[in-house]
Each structure stands twice: as structure tokens, then as C-alpha cells.
């Protein structure tokens, strides 16, 4: 292998009756990375994942898993992937043990290791006490864990999870996020979601897809920086005029909000917070709150996905 990419997607395009569900999506992923796939409903997240896992043939473009082409050697490529689709593929008439054994066998775990693989996977997913239960009788959260268990049972290089935390309670979500990070430390993980904070917690790479096109592709830090920006939110009981704040070094813009708070923008590479506090004490402005003004991730998301729409509207 020349490079260390576990997943390489090149110009993936998928047409549904002439309409492009996914167009020209290219990206790559290395070992030890967790990639978050963000996008509104119907953006093409699931379609892209189906193409990555060989469930759907792309109209154009190619997928390589650890250098193995999905079109040319589907069996070898699929052996390196663990996939949990949006609709959990569970045989509900079987018990957890029976189902996981079949999953291990079909994913070519050698006969001698199947029992061990099932035990380890149950342990990792917190299913150990559910072994003999019929999947049908498990709660939604536990069924989801079984779904994740079948995706990681053969210790694949790439784990692809389509909306893994949907319908779980907060504690289960926390457990599953921890599991995703654990798997992501040594393998590659791709998860799709529309829960934005989840991306910040679990992923180190983010892709935002909208109407089949990649609108953002980069490290989570870039997104975070975009989010935090150079803004401070200040509340004072005895606020001064905007001009007196502008005199403080680094402050470029002052905006008085309807709530009586003030939003202060400042230049790059300076942190005027300290100077503002000193000035406030000195002039008796009655400062009681000063905090970085974060744009919510939702806002960034909206900005990115609706940029195009706004442009065409204007």
C-alpha cells in the first residue's frame, strides 16, 4: 500500500432517474480518524454510505477500501468494512448470541475464533447479560447495540455507522459515543448524524453534505474556530457609550443588543477581555458578565448549507 488511506472515495456520483442524489463527492480517510457526516434530511448521506459499503453501485467514480477497489474486488473490500445501515438489519427471531455468531461467520471470522469474537463484542457493547434473549424482545436501545455489535464483530478496518445514536437515551448515547471513540482510535470510523454537538464530541473530521454536494470538508477544529470567532458578549448594569469601549485597544466594533447586552468584536491575535474588565472596574460600569460569544454549531451549519440558496435568491 502506497498511502495510508483506509477509505478513498473519488468523484462519487449517483443518479436516480436523471436526478443527482450524490454528485462528485471525493474524500479520503486515514487510520485512527473519526469522520462525521453531516447534512439535512435527503442530502445524500445514506446514499453515499451505501456506495461506500458496496450496497449501491455508483453511477460514476470509485471507492477504495485500504487500496482495494470496491467494484473490482467487492468480496475483499467488504471484508474490511463493518456497516450499520439506518434501518437495523436484525433477524428478530434469533437470540443475540445466534445472530452475532451468524454475523461473525458471514464476515469470515475463522471457526475457532467465533466464540471468542462474540464474547468480546458483547462485552464491548454492553450486551453480555442479554445473550439468550430474542432480539425481538429487546428494547430499542439494546437492539441498536446489537446492530453496532454486528458491525464491529470482525474487527474491521473501517466502521460505517448510519445515525448510530438515534432513539437512544442519554446514558446509552454516552456509552455508544465512548465506544465509537474507542474503535476510532485504532480503526477508521464514519458516522452520519444530524445531531451537531455529537460531531464535536466524537469526530475529528467533518463533512457537510447538502443536496448531494460536499459543502464543507475539514478538521473539526476549523469548524470550531469558525464557531467561536472574535466576539465577546458583555453585560453591564451601568453601560457606557459605545465610543468609550471602542477606545480600548483591539476593539473594532460594538453592538448594543436588544437585551441590553453588548457584543464586542475585536481584531485577530488580540484578547481585549482583560483590558475591558480593567476599564469596567476603573469606570464603575458594573460589569457582571463577560464571555466569548459562540455562534452555535447550528448557525454555522445553516450558513454553510443555505449559502447556495441565499446566493441564488439574491
Amino acid at each position: 500500500m502506497i498511502n495510508n488511506f483506509t477509505v478513498e472515495a473519488t468523484e462519487l456520483t449517483r443518479l436516480y432517474g436523471g436526478r443527482e442524489a450524490v454528485s462528485n463527492v471525493s474524500f479520503s480517510l486515514s487510520k485512527g480518524q473519526v469522520l462525521g457526516f453531516l447534512g439535512p434530511n435527503g442530502a445524500g448521506k445514506s446514499t453515499t454510505m451505501k456506495m461506500l459499503t458496496g450496497n449501491l453501485a455508483p453511477s460514476n467514480g470509485s471507492v477504495k477500501i485500504c487500496g482495494i477497489d470496491m467494484m473490482e474486488n467487492p468480496k475483499e473490500a467488504k471484508a474490511l468494512i463493518g456497516y450499520l445501515p439506518e434501518m437495523r438489519p436484525l433477524y428478530k427471531e434469533l437470540t443475540v448470541d445466534e445472530y452475532l455468531t451468524i454475523a461473525a461467520r458471514l464476515h469470515r471470522v475463522s471457526a475457532g475464533n467465533i466464540k471468542k469474537a462474540v464474547e468480546i463484542t458483547k462485552e464491548r457493547c454492553g450486551l453480555a447479560h442479554m445473550s439468550k434473549r430474542l432480539i425481538e424482545n429487546l428494547s430499542n436501545g439494546y437492539q441498536q447495540r446489537v446492530g453496532i455489535a454486528q458491525a464491529i464483530i470482525h474487527n474491521p478496518m473501517v466502521v460505517i455507522l448510519d445515525e448510530p445514536t438515534v432513539g437512544l437515551d442519554p446514558i446509552q448515547i454516552r456509552d455508544i459515543r465512548a465506544l465509537i471513540r474507542e474503535v476510532g482510535a485504532e480503526r477508521s470510523v464514519i458516522i452520519s448524524t444530524h445531531i451537531l454537538p455529537e460531531v464535536e464530541v466524537v469526530c475529528d473530521h467533518v463533512q457537510i453534505i447538502d443536496k448531494g454536494k460536499l459543502v464543507f470538508n475539514g478538521a473539526i477544529d476549523v469548524l470550531k474556530k469558525q464557531r467561536i470567532g472574535n466576539k465577546l458578549l458583555i453585560s453591564m448594569s451601568n453601560p457606557p457609550s459605545a465610543d468609550s469601549l471602542l477606545k480600548i485597544a483591539g476593539v473594532t466594533e460594538v453592538e448594543v443588543l436588544a437585551t441590553g447586552q453588548m457584543r464586542v468584536r475585536f481584531a485577530e491575535d488580540v484578547t481585549p477581555a482583560e483590558a475591558i474588565v480593567q476599564a469596567a472596574v476603573h469606570n464603575n460600569w458594573g460589569l457582571h458578565q463577560i464571555s466569548p460569544d459562540q455562534t452555535s454549531l447550528e448557525e454555522v451549519f445553516m450558513q454553510l448549507t443555505y449559502q447556495d440558496a441565499a446566493l441564488t435568491a439574491a
Binding site: T53, G54, N55, L56, A57, P74, K75, E76, K78, A79, I81, Y83, P85, M87, R88, P89, L90, Y91, K92, E93, L94, E98, I102, A103, R105, L106, H107, R108, Q150
Partner: protein, 252 residues
């Protein structure tokens, strides 16, 4: 890998009451026919005074039991085959198979073998029933072999057709109905056209009838044409199934 899939199918069949119920009802029906035939045999043969009216015990009992088998399979196979792919499509578990490192050919053959193995249990029981008679009388094993072979080929064809109809829909009931209608038509084709032997078209259509090819085997005549017909029939429907599933990946 094919065997692993077949094992999975068998497990699924026995995990629901469906498999057990069908199995027990069928074995009960065959056993009843078998017992009836055994008790009737002595009465019937004692009644026919002329020696040329008498037939062997294997022929008498075999015809009764195997005759029922081909008829019963017409109902049993669609009931069992309808779930194979349609149910998996409905519950979205097909993705599980498509994402595993298995080729489509292996999936189709595995499912086919799973169903075939299940039906073989019934055939094995029938054969065992007939063979128990050899404790008391001499049996015509050639006749039994030809019938068992015929029945195996017949249910292989039924299963392949059932599998295909299961692959074209997401509703098991529709798949079951369609395969029942198709099988019934193919079996009875013979009956509709039997009288008219001068017509070329009807001669060709007669050749398509499953019964037309099964009858010689059930009389103990093993003809390579009939065997080839059943094997081709099975193969063609397995290929149709394969093409149907492949189209799903390309177009769906």
C-alpha cells in the same frame, strides 16, 4: 460460505413455528397415507382374483405416498420459499447480506440450498417409511430410487421458482401467491393440452409442463431428458434471481 448461508436459512426456519408446523403437518399426512396404503394393500390384492390385476407392494404404496408428495409440495414450497428474500427485503436485512463479504451467487445458492435441505428432511422421512417395509417383504428399490430422484428434482425446480418470485417483491404473501399460481399452471399445463396432439404449439407447451417430466420418473423410468429438464429449469430460475438482485444494486 454457501453452506454457512444455508445453515442460517435453516436456523431461521426452525426459529419460527412456521417450519415446525409445516414439517409436522406434512409428516403426519404422509404417515397417514402410508398406513392407509399398507392396510388397503392386502384387501385390494385379495380381492383381485386374476394374477395380472395384482401389483407389487412397492408400486402400490409408493404410488400412493409419492403421488401425494408432488401434490403437497405445490402448497408447501411457496409457503416456505415466499419469505426467503421478500421478508429480508421488508425488514431491511438484505443489507446485512449485501454488506458481508459474500457474492450474490453465494447468497442465492445458500438460500436455495437452505430451503432444499429443509424439504429433504421430508423426503428422507418418506423414504425411511417405505424402507421399513423391507423387514417383512421384498422391496423394489429401483422404483423407490427413481421416485426419490424425481421428487428431489421436482422440489429443486419448485424451490428455484419460489426463490425467484420471492426476489421480485417485498411482500411475502404476494411472492407466495405468485409462485403458487406459476407452479400450478406449470403442473397442470399438461392436462389442458393432452387431448390435442396434432397441434405443434401444444406439443411445445406440453414439454414445459413439470408433470409431463415427473410422470415417467414416478413410474420408475429414469430418462436423461427429464433430468436435464429439471436441472435446466432450476438453473434458469436461480440465474433470474441472481439478475434480479444484481439489478437492485445497480438501479434501485
Amino acid at each position: 460460505m454457501i453452506l454457512n448461508l444455508a445453515r442460517k436459512e435453516l436456523k431461521s426456519m426452525f426459529a419460527s413455528p412456521m417450519g415446525w408446523v409445516i414439517l409436522s403437518i406434512l409428516i403426519f399426512a404422509f404417515a397417514t397415507y402410508f398406513i392407509n396404503a399398507v392396510t388397503q394393500y392386502y384387501g385390494m390384492m385379495a380381492g383381485s382374483v386374476k394374477s395380472n390385476g395384482r401389483i407389487g407392494v412397492t408400486l402400490f404404496i409408493g404410488q400412493s405416498v409419492f403421488g401425494l408428495a408432488s401434490f403437497v409440495m405445490l402448497f408447501a414450497v411457496p409457503l416456505l420459499s415466499m419469505r426467503l428474500i421478500a421478508e429480508e427485503r421488508r425488514t431491511q436485512t438484505l443489507t446485512f447480506l449485501f454488506s458481508a463479504p459474500i457474492s450474490l451467487t453465494e447468497i442465492v445458492l445458500g438460500k436455495f440450498l437452505g430451503l432444499f435441505a429443509f424439504l429433504m428432511i421430508i423426503i428422507a422421512v418418506i423414504t425411511a417409511m417405505l424402507c421399513t417395509l423391507s423387514n417383512w417383504t421384498e422391496l423394489d428399490f429401483g422404483f423407490i430410487f427413481s421416485n426419490v430422484l424425481g421428487l428431489c428434482l421436482l422440489i429443486a425446480s419448485f424451490s428455484a421458482l419460489g426463490l425467484y418470485f420471492s426476489s421480485i417483491t417485498a411482500q411475502p404473501v404476494i411472492a407466495g401467491l405468485l409462485s403458487f399460481i406459476a407452479l400450478f399452471t406449470l403442473l397442470a399445463l399438461d392436462q389442458f393440452l393432452a387431448a390435442d396432439s396434432s397441434n405443434q404449439l401444444s406439443q411445445i407447451l406440453r414439454q414445459l409442463s413439470l408433470m409431463h417430466h415427473f410422470e415417467p420418473l414416478s413410474k420408475g423410468i429414469i430418462d436423461s431428458t427429464d433430468i436435464a429438464f429439471f436441472l435446466l429449469f432450476t438453473g434458469i430460475f436461480l440465474i433470474f434471481t441472481l439478475r434480479r438482485l444484481d439489478a437492485e444494486r445497480l438501479r434501485a
